[in-house]
Point group: C2
Chain length 186, copies 2
C-alpha cells in the first residue's frame, strides 16, 4: 500500500462512487493544499492496484465507459486500521524558497526579495482558492473534518505569507544599511 493508495481509499470513504477522473479533480481541490495531488496516471495505476487487492469495487457504466470505484468492506477495514494503528509520519516539507534564502550570500538581495514577493503572491492566490473550497464545506456535517483541515490551511498559508513579508522587510532593511554605509563612505 502506497500513501497515495490510502489517500484514494480515504476519498472513497465519504461514500460516493467516483471515477478516476473525479477522484483526481477532488484531490486537486482538497489534498493538494496540504498533501500531494497525484497525477492522473498515478491515480489510474493506483486504482487498478486497489481493485486487484479487493479494496475497491468497480462498475463500468455510461456510454463513455466510465469506471466508477467504490470502497469495499475490506477496503474500509484496511483504511481504518491504517488510520488507527499506524502513527502518522512527521510532515515533510521541501521549501525551495527557504533553500534559496539559505544560500542568499550568492545573489543580490533584490533577487531574493523578488522571489519572496512572488511567493507572497502565490500564497495570496492559494488563500483565495482555499476560501472558495471552504465555502462548499461549511454547514454540511459530512464535511466537518475537511473543514477543520481547511481552517488549519488558512492559518498555515497566512503564517507563510506573514513570514515571507517579514523576511522581505529584513532583507530590505539590510540593503538600506549597506546603501547608507556607501553614502557615508564606510
Amino acid at each position: 500500500m502506497t500513501p497515495t493508495g490510502y489517500a484514494l481509499l480515504g476519498l472513497l470513504s465519504f461514500g460516493r462512487q467516483l471515477s478516476g477522473y473525479e477522484l483526481k479533480q477532488w484531490a486537486d481541490a482538497s489534498l493538494r493544499f496540504f498533501y500531494a495531488s497525484p497525477p492522473m496516471s498515478q491515480v489510474y495505476a493506483e486504482l487498478d492496484r486497489l481493485r486487484a487487492a479487493g479494496l475497491v469495487t468497480v462498475k463500468t457504466s455510461g456510454a463513455r465507459s466510465t469506471k466508477r470505484y467504490r470502497l469495499s468492506a475490506a477496503g474500509r477495514r484496511v483504511l481504518v486500521r491504517w488510520l488507527r494503528d499506524e502513527p502518522p509520519e512527521p510532515p515533510t516539507l521541501k521549501h525551495h524558497l527557504a533553500l534559496r534564502v539559505f544560500f542568499g550570500h550568492l545573489v543580490e538581495p533584490e533577487v531574493l526579495i523578488a522571489q519572496l514577493e512572488a511567493h507572497r503572491r502565490w500564497c495570496d492566490e492559494l488563500l483565495v482558492e482555499l476560501a472558495a473550497v471552504k465555502e462548499t464545506l461549511v454547514e454540511d456535517p459530512a464535511w466537518v473534518y475537511p473543514a477543520l483541515v481547511a481552517d488549519w490551511g488558512e492559518t498555515y498559508f497566512t503564517a507563510e505569507r506573514t513570514a515571507a513579508d517579514r523576511l522581505t522587510a529584513q532583507l530590505a532593511s539590510e540593503t538600506d544599511d549597506n546603501d547608507k554605509d556607501k553614502e557615508t563612505g564606510r
Copy 2:
C-alpha cells in the same frame, strides 16, 4: 542537475572543503528543518556526479582516505545561475497528520487527539534542536542567511504547534458536546 545536487553545491559555496560524511552531517543539522536531508548513499552518488560534471574538485587526504570536495569555479557559476535565473518552485508539503484529520470521520476523536499531541511533542523537540543550531549561527556574519532561515523555522514550527493545539481543543470540545448530547438523551 538534481535538487539535491544544487543543495550540496550550495553547502560547499560557504568555502570549506568537506567530505561526503561531513556534508551529510551538516545537512542533518540545517537542511533537514526545511528541506530534505539526503541519505548518505545519495550524497556520495551525487558528489560523484558533480565531480564528473566538473562542478566540484576532489582531494583524497589522510590515512582514512577521506575525499574532500570543494566547489569549482564552474560549480559556482552553475549554482549562481540557478539561484538567480530559475524561479524557485512553490514549497511542497506532505502533511500526513492533516490527511488523518481529513479522514477523521473514520476514527474515534481520541485517536486523532493522541496523534495531534504526538505531533505537538515532535514540534517541541524540533524547536529545541533548532534553538541549538541557531546559537551556533548568531554573531558570525558568515551565517546571516542561514540565521534568517533559522528564525523563519522557529516561527514556522511554533505556528505548527499552535495549530495542533487549536485542533486538539476543537476536537476535545466536539467530544464534550457529544457526551452532553448523550447525557441529556438526545
